[in-house]
Amino acid sequence: MELRIDDRRVFAATYGREPDPGRPTVLFVHGAAMDRTVWTLFGRYFVRHEHNAIAVDLPGHGRSEGPPLESIPAMADWVAALLDAAGIDSAFLVGHSMGSLAVLDAAARHPERARGIVLVGTSAPMPVTDALLDPARANERLALDLLTLWGHSARAHVGGFSVPGMWMTGGGLRLVERAAPGVLFADLDACNRYADGIERARAVRCPALLVLGERDSMTPARAVRDLEAALPVSRRLVIRHGGHQLMSERPNQVLDALAEFVG
């Protein structure tokens, strides 16, 4: 689906069916330097189950025109604008990593738009080490490697992917290689600067589901606990041995959790 927001071309995958305002909607927001394609299995499921599924390419990502948005609140406002452009009142908002912060912020500041939020591979705050920020700022290859190395659990580095024949870390790397120069840094910088997560979490009124990787080295455990405590109504699923890239590491488990939450 192609839309225009702020006079820029925006793309979102809708899995063969344009959104219908009469159906419940699940909207997916990807993480740093990624795009809509991380959500394909999940989007296809919801469309077959009589939902609208919209997996966005944030500005400057995938097929959406740049530049990338500069802050998490800007992404949250953009998500609300996208729902407007698609003619959808409210949706289950699902986000991964940076996308989870965008979804959290959107649910707090646009409460009428969020029927529920799912935060995958999340924490608040979401500090980013200089060891990653510096090479990202310089558009160095090292940043993509670190993202891939740290983003996957030790198990994922061995493989055994449930999607037949796909080499998980290779696929993850190819996806972030596609990001234009500057995009990864803009995204990581937005995560690193976002200080309002806990306060926003207290303002969320809809139910929240946290999907966490037991061995996620990108999201500090303490920052997950504080976030969970601040959310009024929340549930959590901790995926054993899981890392940060849970949609590729454990797609079936993530899908089961999503399907149950959305209902």
């Binding site: 809509r36 394609t37 394909t40 499921y45 580095h157 493989g159 992917f161 037949p164 024949g165 790397l173």
Partner: protein, 430 residues
């Protein structure tokens, strides 16, 4: 403290794609000898067919043992995914058929394995796909042969029979300037000696019959997707960038991004053409891969000894190995194949067809047969076997002289190999 790093090649050779079996804890790769897999419930079944659920349905489409092999070869080649298929020929066909159809055109090296040449020269034209063959050493010839209907450039890392080394970075540049992908047959080099995707290739395939399995026990192929080619930007690949009627209007680039090619190759090519690999075959190839680097290093070391021996022998007219004196690709090989140029090469016996035949019949350690890439040393004399119907002139046109002998050097004691060759060379000159 050392920085974070990916698992190394030898670790991937042993482990990639194969954690301990989740069902039983088996440490070796279990052979999932089952045609189909039970659905937990009807909705899950529908989800598997609709690409929402990951898992296995039917072993023509995917199988857990095959998937281990696919992941492992993808990891070793630096790709994002792979498909295990029935043979090297099936891999080449699948690569072509996934992105080309009637009216389309390919540009290929003219120094190809004979079976690949047959497929492109005689068989694919029956289905409307034409190929122009060019000198693999001439990047400009590749460029000049590209037409508006061209869909793919293709060559072998090390060619047949002259051991032409493909300048993968240069040919990839020609391909990418034209918005086309480069396919490389990496059978002779294996990922231990050359990783074409790192050099710019987009798709790689193997006859797993050869060094990957390494023991001459199976026929198999693997096709690897590098995942870097931008099919949308090129605009020449409607099978990937437009809805696929054969899969409910799925647009592969839209939903699978970098994995568009390999996803369509499985969902269409494996499903419809059906050239799948048997899971037992996948097991043998996995077993072979565990020792890939060790075997290849030994293959190369033995080859170097054999080449040196032949270069100093009176009954030998010439030796064509990329590392040998006077080979036109010596410098290129030292850049692209620094660990060695493989173990398959040819040389000329003085005395032509009759001498070649006497030579081959006196070998005892080398086995006279039609294959390469076995742990055992192999030999063939095309003029008295595969090409026996051709006269000297026709042979020359195919780049083969009457005294040409092709060796595939194994991992035996090298002194026994040179002794065997020496004995047979003496006999050939009587």
């Amino acid at each position: 403290m050392p920085g974070p790093r990916y698992l190394g090649f030898d670790t991937l050779s042993l482990h990639a794609g194969q954690p301990p079996d989740p069902a039983t804890g088996a440490r070796a790769a279990p052979i999932y000898q089952s045609a189909s897999f039970v659905f937990p419930d009807a909705d899950h079944a529908a989800g598997l067919f609709n690409l929402e659920r990951s898992g296995h349905v039917y072993s023509r489409l995917s199988n857990p043992t095959n998937a281990m092999l696919e992941e492992r070869v993808a990891a070793l080649e630096g790709g994002l995914g792979a498909l295990a298929v029935a043979s090297g020929q099936a891999a080449l066909h699948l690569a072509v058929a996934t992105i080309a159809g009637a009216g389309d055109h390919l540009v290929a090296s003219r120094s190809l394995y004979g079976g690949s040449h047959n497929l492109l020269e005689y068989t694919l034209p029956r289905f409307g796909i034409e190929t122009t063959f060019v000198d693999p050493r001439d990047a400009r010839a590749f460029r000049a042969a590209i037409r508006p209907t061209t869909r793919l450039l293709f060559g072998e890392t090390v060619g047949n029979p002259g051991c032409e080394v493909l300048d993968i970075p240069a040919i990839a540049e020609v391909a990418h300037e034209a918005g086309l992908p480069l396919l490389v047959d990496n059978t002779f080099a294996t990922p231990w000696l050359c990783r074409p995707i790192e050099l710019g290739a987009d798709l790689v395939y193997h006859s797993a019959t050869k060094f990957l399995s390494g023991h001459g026990v199976v026929i198999g192929g693997v096709l690897v997707d590098g995942g870097r080619f931008d099919w949308d930007a090129s605009g020449r690949f409607p099978t990937l960038s437009e809805p696929h009627d054969g899969f409910h209007g799925l647009t592969y680039t839209e939903e699978f991004g970098p994995a568009a090619f390999i996803t369509r190759a499985r969902r269409e090519g494996l499903r419809d053409f059906g050239a799948c690999m048997a899971p037992t075959t996948a097991f043998y190839v996995l077993q072979g891969l565990e020792t890939l680097s060790i075997r290849m290093d030994r293959h190369v070391a033995n080859t170097r000894e054999v080449v040196a021996f032949l270069e100093g022998h009176d009954a030998v007219e010439w030796v064509s190995y990329p590392e040998a004196k006077g080979h036109p690709d010596r410098e290129l090989a030292s850049r692209l194949l620094p660990k060695g140029a493989g173990a398959v090469f040819s040389f000329g016996v003085r005395g032509g067809r009759a001498a070649g035949q006497r030579f081959i019949e006196r070998l005892e350690v080398f086995s006279h047969l039609a294959n390469v890439g076995d742990a055992k040393s192999l030999v063939i004399h095309p003029a008295s076997t595969t090409h026996h119907r051709m006269d000297a002139e026709a042979l020359a046109a195919a780049g083969i002289s009457e005294g040409l002998i092709r060796l595939s050097v194994g991992i035996e004691d090298p002194a026994d190999l040179t002794a065997d060759l020496g004995r047979a060379l003496r006999a050939s000159q009587r």
